[in-house]
Symmetry: C2
Subunit: 252 residues, 2 copies
Amino acid sequence: MSGALSQEDKLDKRSPVPAYVQLAQILRQRISSEIYTSGNRLPSEAAIAGSFKVSGMTVRQALGVLVNEGLVERIQGRGTFVKRLDVATSCFGLDSFRSILTDRENVEVRILKATVEKARGKALEALGLTADDPVVVVERVILHRSQPLTLQVGFAVFDPESPVVENMLDTQVLTDLFFQENCGSFKKGELWLLPDSLDERQAALLGAEVGENAFRLEHIFYDFAGRPAAYGWFLLTPDKMQLSTRVGVWNE
Amino acid sequence: MSGALSQEDKLDKRSPVPAYVQLAQILRQRISSEIYTSGNRLPSEAAIAGSFKVSGMTVRQALGVLVNEGLVERIQGRGTFVKRLDVATSCFGLDSFRSILTDRENVEVRILKATVEKARGKALEALGLTADDPVVVVERVILHRSQPLTLQVGFAVFDPESPVVENMLDTQVLTDLFFQENCGSFKKGELWLLPDSLDERQAALLGAEVGENAFRLEHIFYDFAGRPAAYGWFLLTPDKMQLSTRVGVWNE
DNA sequence: AAGTGGTCTAGACCACCTA
DNA sequence: AGGTGGTCTAGACCACTTT
């Protein structure tokens, strides 16, 4: 067994796999097999560089990979340490939602409502408007393979000269936030995730049961002048958007 | 105005702020002010290095910062491009939950139940046991400033020699996953986030209303042999764990 | 004082893309 | 062929921590 180990403990410099990736992999395995143990120090950069006969920069790059994976922590003047599992540093991505939306030929958008109304409630506040300013309101159901995927409600400041209004009325725009194809008009955005449950109308539109638990994904986007320009939310049942994340050593 | 701009377009090499951070900031502002626009190419590494009189490595480091922020994308052979806003690349962290749990002097754990039972249902499946194998079941309420924060239910394989069982019965262990102080016994873990609503008992324990929407944070942890060792979940109302994230240019 | 990681230089060669 | 980013070297100096 130690033969197999020492074999993996050398870098193949002719390999197309970069040296720093190979090195990261070796160090990852040493963490996984408790050669380097939780809370303890790894050898110094110089020591690793010497033992693998690579430059300091290559070691640094390999350790950077492990830092990004949350496996180690580097402290100036002290060293590089194996991190303990830390649930709170993990984060939940929207990949499963995106993977459905990017399947474009099977996605269909059905407009339920597209009107100009007087602003009130949360949309008024989020968009920084004064009472009764006009806002564009759009409500859509997005379907995937003819099955309801999500109900989307959006509000935008009504400004006939703004491209945002055009975009709001376009069937594509909000899916484009995910398709990443037509969203140069926003500088930044903020998103919130909330637990919710479906009322009668929402359940009917999504083909789900009344009271069923769902995610509510709220969003607000700002234009390049820094003004809030679009506010709204998506309603999604959790089978349509699985949120999961991993911590610790998975890529051994 | 152009005077102010050109002033910021030089690096202060005597500053304690690293050159690559200053450079990233300048490039970020150029994206924010649409000097570099969505979808278009930035100057090449060599061009940036020349105009700021730094080495290629410093430019590379600065661009790496912007890549991590999701502002630009680098494509080998083509160049570095300003990314359009992309909701689906953002992710939700558990910082707000952690910030409460790490306020240790105000956190209190109240054990509701700690028994050994026969495995069944989801815990049996998650832990890879066969029917009626014994499992440790622990149920707790965690309070912050004497207010109920979360209800936690955990299952662990019953193995008298395993430190996990000891830990499960310890009032501290699962909060330690967050405190990051006593979790060297797990190699990896997986987490799921789900929308849920509180039943009568849960609502009473959490001082909330029956049917109120809540997050359910499920977790499973594996020991260094790769075996599932602990499964369970947290129930939390969204006021106790705000999940938000940002995309685009925020640090101008 | 010695050891650690953090920044930075000034090159080199390669893989990839576009023309 | 020429330009782009990706990897890598072999150093240098600095800031920080520990002894």
